[in-house]
Symmetry: C2
Subunit: 289 residues, 2 copies
């Protein structure tokens, strides 16, 4: 049971975790900080937080679990703001999509660095803000923890228990491995989807093109509607891995384009068959998504 959850950032991700913990009866009180007065009001009105405060330090004060769920640029200031308030037994988590950068930012915690358990829940929506928070956001979803050598193992176990309690499947890996994996399966796919949508938008009669797009395009391009500030930060934080993955992708695009150009039906069939053999069975293993 969490006595007090300190929520630093009352958006979709943090708000959904607060609602999930409340629904599970696992938290007595949620204190939330947002720099926006309107967000604070909405968070209280929606029952996401029990009290809204006007600084990160106030949200951290007296909290046994703190979740930092803010834009990347606000992460290091958040660590600085809570550093002198937390105890050695306080669990501090984030919910960011890149992990090496947040571990670097967390160094400002100094002797409280062991409190920090880097966390990445693989969940989200193409809409932001506390009004879209929902208790079921993390149910059945994966959560990756990337503890470092400095991390307190007892707090890492506590983090794991919390995410499992809201229905998530928890696994751990190194931050470097995490960032490489998610460059491949998430960050580069976003870049590709942005480019594909921009390629349509840049053409004359873009509206007429989009008007003819069907369900395939709808699903393929869904992630292109993601939040620009969030994705700018992710792509810059994980630049090297994203660019390395782009090279793998471009090599495969070149094979397909060459087969099409040369009218090489056999090579083209094999390339498409390879994609189907990879993607077809994967779909069936992931029905919890």
């Amino acid at each position: 049971m969490i006595q007090q959850l300190g929520l630093i950032g009352c958006g979709l991700m943090g708000g959904s975790l607060a609602l999930a913990l409340k629904r599970a009866g696992l938290v007595q009180r949620v204190v939330g900080f947002s720099p926006s007065e309107r967000t604070r009001q909405t968070a209280v009105e929606l029952g996401v937080v029990d009290a809204a405060v006007t600084s990160a330090a106030q949200a951290a004060q007296g909290s046994d679990v703190i979740v930092i769920a803010v834009p990347v640029a606000a992460t290091q200031p958040s660590f600085e703001a809570i550093r002198d308030v937390i105890t050695p037994h306080t669990l501090v988590m984030d919910v960011g999509s890149t992990k090496q950068d947040v571990i670097l930012a967390a160094q400002v915690l100094g002797e409280r660095l062991p409190c920090f358990v880097p966390a990445h829940p693989i969940a989200g929506k193409e809409v932001a803000g506390v009004v879209h928070a929902e208790a079921s956001l993390y149910a059945g979803k994966k959560v990756i923890l990337t503890p470092t050598e400095a991390t307190n193992p007892a707090l890492c176990e506590k983090a794991q228990a919390i995410w499992q309690a809201v229905g998530s499947q928890v696994s751990t890996m190194s931050a470097a491995r995490h960032d490489a994996v998610f460059a491949a399966v998430s960050h580069l796919p976003h870049v590709i989807a942005f480019a594909a949508v921009n390629a349509l938008a840049a053409q004359p009669q873009a509206d007429a093109l989009l008007n003819m797009a069907g369900p395939g395009f709808r699903d393929f391009s869904r992630i292109a509607a993601s939040d620009p500030a969030v994705w700018r930060d992710i792509l810059l934080a994980n630049r090297d891995e994203v660019l390395a993955q782009a090279k793998f992708f471009q090599a495969q695009m070149a094979l397909l384009q060459t087969a099409i150009e040369q009218g090489d039906a056999q090579a083209l069939s094999q390339l498409i068959e390879s994609a189907r053999q990879t993607r077809g069975p994967w779909r069936m293993n992931q029905q919890q998504d």
Copy 2:
């Protein structure tokens, strides 16, 4: 009311149209041809066709509406097989994803060319075969007709009425325009999805990568599980337009990659914001998909 529907090819697309017309009470009898005995048996067992025959000519004989729903390679032989059986009042349609190539193939109809109304229903699944046919496949979906100067206008109107009767939204455009539009919104996105999935599969620990992929990747890559023979034919039939669209896409990829490489946060934000402004509102206009 259709007296007899001749189905040449009893797969997902043709089978679904037969079921939809039956459910709407718009067809008295469906006669289906498949070269596969097993498919013929299944089509009869599932009630997709009332009778299964062993040649395209038999399916066409006595039918007032004929739907050719076969792999591209079998299209021209199908036209040849029915040419001497149909009357000037017979409506012949296809359901293919490219239109200029099928119009070329239809030239073998000779003096029956006016019977042919090229049709492309924007619907499908990543599974093939008559067992996946369903009456609702075309409900709420777009259907594009691309009549030529040779097409009998009365039969074009009849085609339109049939698709509207199964719940589709019908529009017409030139075959050239159609092929350019669908290169942009469908064919190139498939190529991109094939390449993205193959790029993962080509890496060491591909399974570990895929195991971490979430809902964003699931939707983005869904079309990569499409049928290889179908997509090989589409991409080769529409080669020039697909390669032209690939150039637009690569130009946008280059802008994004450069912004990431150079750490240009402002340029990156603008590129992502552009994608969101295009894709975000589109989604809401397409809820019927």
